[in-house]
């Protein structure tokens, strides 16, 4: 017969497993779209869910859990981009799967042009645009991930789209660069 502490731990574990099963592919996708390094991706995914495990009481019960996890993954990824690297003993197998199974796509010239314009934008604007286009989030959902108001998201996204359109037009007037290889490691 399990003792009360074990029962409490089992309940906690059950709740974590629900969150993990429901959202692991979303977080894996979010991270892989923003880094092409399998080691970094594995560590960010593990740290994101480890944070969820340690702060399970803060994880929203409904679909908000996905947005909460995006917010955590975003901060962990930002730390990685600043050079704060961790190598997790938790992620050996995930790292191996990603290293053997994931190849970032090579872009055709049209996509390379879009990527070039996109990379000219400040990181904050890239994040807004990708949360909308890649994760399919609306203004309110992006506001939750970024921790700002819906109205601020609407205005900033408007400006970002305008700036992106300008950069793209500027790229398109220059000659195309066939064979340019841009991977998602340089995006977002």
């Amino acid at each position: 017969m399990p003792s009360p502490p074990i029962a409490a731990r089992d309940e906690r574990q059950r709740r974590f497993e629900e969150v993990y099963l429901a959202h692991r592919s979303s977080i894996l996708g979010y991270v892989l779209r923003r880094t092409d390094n399998p080691d970094d991706a594995a560590d960010v995914i593990a740290e994101t869910f480890l944070t969820a495990w340690r702060r399970l009481e803060d994880v929203p019960c409904d679909a908000g859990a996905r947005l909460w996890l995006y917010g955590v993954a975003r901060r962990v990824l930002a730390n990685h981009h600043r050079g704060v690297r961790r190598r997790s003993a938790l992620t050996e197998r995930l790292r191996a799967d990603l290293a053997t199974g994931y190849r970032p796509p090579e872009f055709d010239s049209g996509q390379a042009q879009i990527a070039e314009a996109f990379l000219r934008l400040p990181p904050a604007e890239r994040e807004l645009l990708t949360l909308s286009a890649w994760e399919g989030l609306d203004y309110g959902q992006i506001a939750v991930v970024l921790g700002c108001s819906r109205n601020a998201v609407r205005l900033r996204l408007f400006r970002a789209r305008k700036r992106f359109a300008g950069e793209l037009a500027s790229c398109q007037t220059r000659s195309a660069h066939p064979g340019v290889h841009v991977t998602n490691g340089g995006l977002a």
Partner: protein, 302 residues
């Protein structure tokens, strides 16, 4: 489709197909085996905000800091799970949980009682002016005595002691973390978890690959074999299978019985002489389905 969508490197569904269900299960199991709360029962500290100097470091294969370390923590206990310490049997309320031995510039901390209440470890570290939370979790055989989790507060620089070939952790190879070095004058907080031997029937909280050296399926090739074939091979090793993990549409469930004609995709240590098998009715695991990124919101500029 917006222009930005055209350069989306990978969808959620494509990403999910890259990772084997057993790998997801392994990571989930390792996460839930790590300490979830502080020793006094309060939830863990909030995640540090971007830019904060607070950080958590997980350890494996990191370079050792030279010259600074004075405390070495090794889980090299003499006690078996039955609490036998040396020739004398002692109860957990009597035995000292940790021993501290000073030798030159190092203090070696040895775990005398791997089944002690974590609050006792904490108290004994505190008596040596160290704010360290140590837990020992039931581990599959090759991870007994190895470091399975390490977290630390801002400014701390605890580094691992690795022993080549002591354990095998999958993609990381054989650089096995077996202890930690704690810098001189350590005034931060640290949370450490080591693997301990499981009690009979106790479920492992941290596991190496089932086929790693020291594990019950070491040397076995079984992927793509039927459940019946694998169960027969396991019987020869006195290994039983209390749980079959069957993932359908991305959601895994644990079953106690499955048809013998099903196929085995992977395995994970479960408890002493027990493994969990990852199975399904098709010879290769079906690609898991997951939500696609949603429809982009209308763009004012498009």
């Amino acid at each position: 489709m917006s222009q930005i969508s055209r350069i989306c490197p990978v969808t959620d569904a494509e990403a999910e197909r890259i990772v084997r269900p057993a790998t997801f299960a392994d990571l989930g199991g390792r996460i839930t085996a790590s300490p979830a709360a502080t020793a006094d029962g309060t939830p863990g500290r909030p995640y540090p905000a971007a830019g904060s100097r607070a950080r958590r470091r997980w350890l494996i294969g990191a370079p050792l800091a030279a010259g600074l370390a004075v405390v070495v923590l090794l889980v090299t206990w003499l006690a078996s799970p039955a609490q036998r310490v040396g020739p004398v049997r002692v109860g957990p309320q009597v035995a000292q949980a940790l021993s501290f031995t000073t030798s030159g510039r190092y203090i070696t901390v040895i775990v005398r009682n791997p089944l002690a209440d974590p609050t006792r470890y904490r108290a004994e570290f505190a008596a040596h002016h160290l704010d360290i939370t140590l837990t020992l979790v039931p581990a599959s055989p090759s991870l007994v005595g190895t470091l399975v989790y390490s977290g630390q507060s801002a400014g701390a620089d605890i580094t691992p002691i690795t022993a080549q070939g002591r354990c095998y952790t999958g993609g990381g190879g054989s650089a096995c973390p077996v202890g930690v070095r704690i810098p001189a004058g350590f005034r931060g907080q640290a949370q450490l978890a080591f693997g301990r031997a499981a009690r009979p029937g106790e479920r492992y909280e941290t596991t190496a690959p089932a086929t790693a050296p020291g594990e019950v399926m070491h040397g076995m090739r079984f992927q793509g074999d039927t459940v019946s074939q694998v169960l027969a091979m396991l019987r020869e090793r006195d290994v039983t299978v209390p749980v079959f993990n069957y993932a359908r549409q991305g959601y895994a469930r644990n079953l106690s019985h499955v048809p013998g004609s099903w196929y085995v995709y992977d395995a994970a240590p479960w408890a002493s002489q027990q493994v969990m098998l990852f199975v399904g009715p098709t010879k290769t695991p079906p690609a898991a389905k997951s939500p696609q990124p949603g429809t982009p919101v209308p763009s004012p500029t498009s």
